[in-house]
């Protein structure tokens, strides 16, 4: 039988058998983590949805007539924010209804703000003239307001209560009866 001299019986130090990472591996690992973080953020942003409750994101809208409206300054009123575009078919369908409701509620503590999404000034003006819209309408310059509200298309309508909170979000063309019912409820209850 052979006398086996095992390493731990020798004077030679035993080799290190731990898990060690080289510099290259560390850099590669950091790179992978960074890429994963970037993809994660992109995914989160993609999955962001329109606000349906809580404080409404504040913005300032300059209308085509040159007036300026800041949402935060409209606290105490119910605000209807309608995103639209002149190239959008459903927006043309709902435009007369919005104007009618505006005419009925404008003296009852309700403000309408029309936000034209990726629209040309010429197109927006023609649209407003065609549907005789008299409530404030402006272009969403730099699509900043649309980004704040994460809109996915047009038309989309948000109803903000007197405390500046989103109480309704409608992701389709709105009817006169539907909008009137919502405004009656919010004016009466605040929610």
């Amino acid at each position: 039988m052979t006398d086996v001299n095992l390493p731990f019986e020798t004077d030679e130090p035993a080799p290190q058998r731990g898990f060690r990472l080289g510099l290259g591996s560390i850099v590669l690992l950091v790179g992978i983590v960074l890429v994963a973080v970037v993809f994660g953020i992109a995914l989160l942003q993609r999955n962001q949805t329109q606000p349906t409750a809580g404080p409404a994101p504040d913005f300032t809208l300059t209308t085509l007539d040159g007036d300026t409206y800041r949402l935060a300054d409209l606290k105490g009123q119910v605000v209807v924010i309608n995103f639209w575009a002149s190239w959008c078919g459903p927006c043309r369908v709902e435009a007369p209804a919005l104007q009618k409701v505006w005419e009925r509620y404008q003296n009852q503590g309700v403000t309408f703000l029309g936000v034209a999404y990726t629209d040309t000034e010429r197109g927006a003006r023609e649209f407003i003239a065609q549907y005789s819209q008299t409530y404030p309408n402006g272009l969403d310059l730099g699509t900043k307001i649309s980004d704040l509200y994460n809109i996915q298309g047009v038309p989309e309508t948000f109803i903000i209560n007197q405390r500046g909170e989103v109480v309704e979000f409608i992701m389709q063309q709105i009817s006169e009866a539907q909008l009137s019912a919502i405004l009656d409820r919010v004016l009466a209850t605040g929610v």
Binding site: T2, P7, L28, D119, R122, G142, T143, K144, G153
Partner: protein, 163 residues
């Protein structure tokens, strides 16, 4: 009488031909062509769809933007002025890349830098693995089994020495 009738008919035909020719002449004489519009539209993206260039996009929104480009070209705006105007109104997404020189450079260079780093690291790792394999083979005694495991190699060497 007949001669006058013929002359009148010929004059009417000539007038009709001239009337038809006017728009064609107008087009040749400085009106903006679809190609000119599309040259600029190619550098922009559809505002309501993802990653579709404006020149090939079929939505009403794109058609409206192309009309806007045509109008601005007719007004004498240059290509860069039109692009800047669109970016100012609709944001950087119009052109797909930021207009700010620093951000633009970063967005264009970063993917290449990351790619080059990955290739360099992969090459470095491959080279290190290759060299390590060569050294191990050289260290191993003739006839001894080549192993990646240091511990096993040392054990084999000790056994050889004992025999």
């Amino acid at each position: 009488m007949n001669r006058f009738k013929n002359i009148r008919t010929i004059m009417m035909v000539l007038f009709a031909l001239l009337a038809l020719a006017v728009p064609v002449l107008a087009q040749d004489g400085g009106a903006v062509t679809a190609d000119e519009v599309n040259t600029i539209a190619k550098k922009m993206y559809c505002p309501v769809c993802e990653n579709i260039p404006l020149d090939v996009c079929g939505t009403a929104a794109c058609a409206q933007w192309r009309d806007e480009i045509r109008i601005q070209l007719e007004q004498g705006y240059t290509e860069q002025e039109i692009i800047n105007d669109f970016v100012g109104r609709y944001g950087d997404r119009v052109v797909g890349t930021p207009q700010d020189p620093t951000l633009r450079a970063l967005s264009l260079v970063t993917p290449w830098v990351i790619g080059a780093l990955v290739v360099a690291l992969a090459g470095f790792s491959l080279l290190r693995w290759w060299r390590g394999r060569g050294v191990q083979a050289a260290l191993a005694p003739a006839g001894a089994p080549v192993s990646d495991d240091d511990y096993r190699a040392r054990l084999e060497r000790d056994l050889q020495a004992k025999r």
